[in-house]
Symmetry: C2
Subunit: 229 residues, 2 copies
């Protein structure tokens, strides 16, 4: 867009441009602190023109959140090839890329941002969680999960969310360490469940057999055995 | 209160009675579905009199939430005696008692209830999380936690929250099973962190040495060893 030539944008094109500008601002500072004036200025248009495309800040915020949600959900997609641990590691790296890129906006959203309680916002957050959940089940090769497996996977997703939020607050632990540990934590939580439930144990057995010696799950077991001795 | 004798209550006494009645209703059905009329009727007073004590439903909701938060935070208190695993099991049992007693209200609150986004509500939720966090650190015998330990404990707290929420949605897994597994999950997550970090490992070593053969941590290791063989 650096042609230097000014031209009139079509309605949908202008909406998309505004969403991009707003998302960028909402990602760099808490959305509460971003004004419509600032969005208008960053987009190079007047404040009334912003209102022509979006009735208010909430609708622009929701549109930006929709784009971010689609982006995040897309990052969970990972080919079903190779060992599970390595696949999950790649997904975690992309998840932390996203969190890194949208830090302040992600924090504000998850801790209660400007649109908190809005049905649209809650539905978007839930849809991303659901996408993450379905992707993980697909990688585990499970179509209809037993209640215990569903519980482990869904609660691990909130563990990953809060880990990312705590990481953003000061970044006192390198993200690469957390990416590995989240994958290993999923393994550990599944192991706790499998320790009590044969069905979960039987689901996991074939997956673990495919894990190579240099994968994150083998790494965890090796480290724990070393620690215990 | 079953004396059958009607008497005028003092202002603070009436407020406390209304909070109790409201909390009971908010615990049994989603707070969104509970009306001021219903609260007035359950308290045996007129609707205008409710408004005399509380300017609106939100302020009554916040007062009820304050009472519930104090109650929950109080349940985390556990004498520093005996092995860690057994202490945590008792805390988890009281946590699930609370979740069980306040089911619909707890779900609504955590998923975005009527007062979502209210500063008071968020502060109350955070204060309960903070109380849980400080209690766990005290049981671990840690005053100023390293960043990695803080991360594990805080993210485990959100794992416990979401486990309770998922449990409430259908109660498809016995709560006793989840209570044990949450304690074991904390152990497993701490182990994952210790596997990467000497400081965490050194903090945990003396605690594990005090664990008896019939505690939840030994139980987990025994089960995993059996499963692996």
């Amino acid at each position: 867009m650096s042609t230097g030539t000014r031209r009139r944008l079509g309605v949908e094109e202008r909406r998309q441009q505004l969403i991009g500008v707003a998302l960028d601002l909402f990602s760099r500072r808490s959305p509460d602190e971003v004004s419509i004036d600032e969005i208008a200025s960053a987009a190079g248009i007047s404040r009334p023109l912003v209102y022509h495309y979006f009735p208010g800040k909430l609708s622009l915020y929701e549109a930006a959140l929709k784009r971010a949600s689609d982006d995040l959900a897309g990052r969970f997609t990972e080919p079903h090839e190779g060992p599970l641990g390595a696949r999950l590691l790649r997904v975690m790296a992309r998840f932390f890329d996203f969190v890194d890129e949208h830090g302040p906006g992600f924090s504000a959203l998850m801790r209660g941002g400007p649109a908190v309680g809005s049905t649209t916002t809650n539905a978007l957050i839930d849809s991303v969680r659901q996408a993450a959940y379905e992707q993980i089940l697909a990688h585990l090769g499970v179509g209809e999960p037993p209640a215990r497996l569903e519980l482990v996977v869904r609660s691990w997703i909130s563990l990953a969310e809060s880990t990312a939020l705590i990481w953003l607050d000061g970044r006192r632990v390198p993200r690469e360490e957390l990416e590995v540990q989240l994958v290993q934590s999923l393994g550990a939580l599944l192991a706790v469940s499998a320790a009590h439930d044969t069905e979960t144990a039987e689901l996991l057995r074939p997956l673990l057999k495919q894990e190579p010696g240099d994968g994150p799950f083998t790494d965890l077991v090796t480290r724990l055995v070393t620690l215990a001795s």
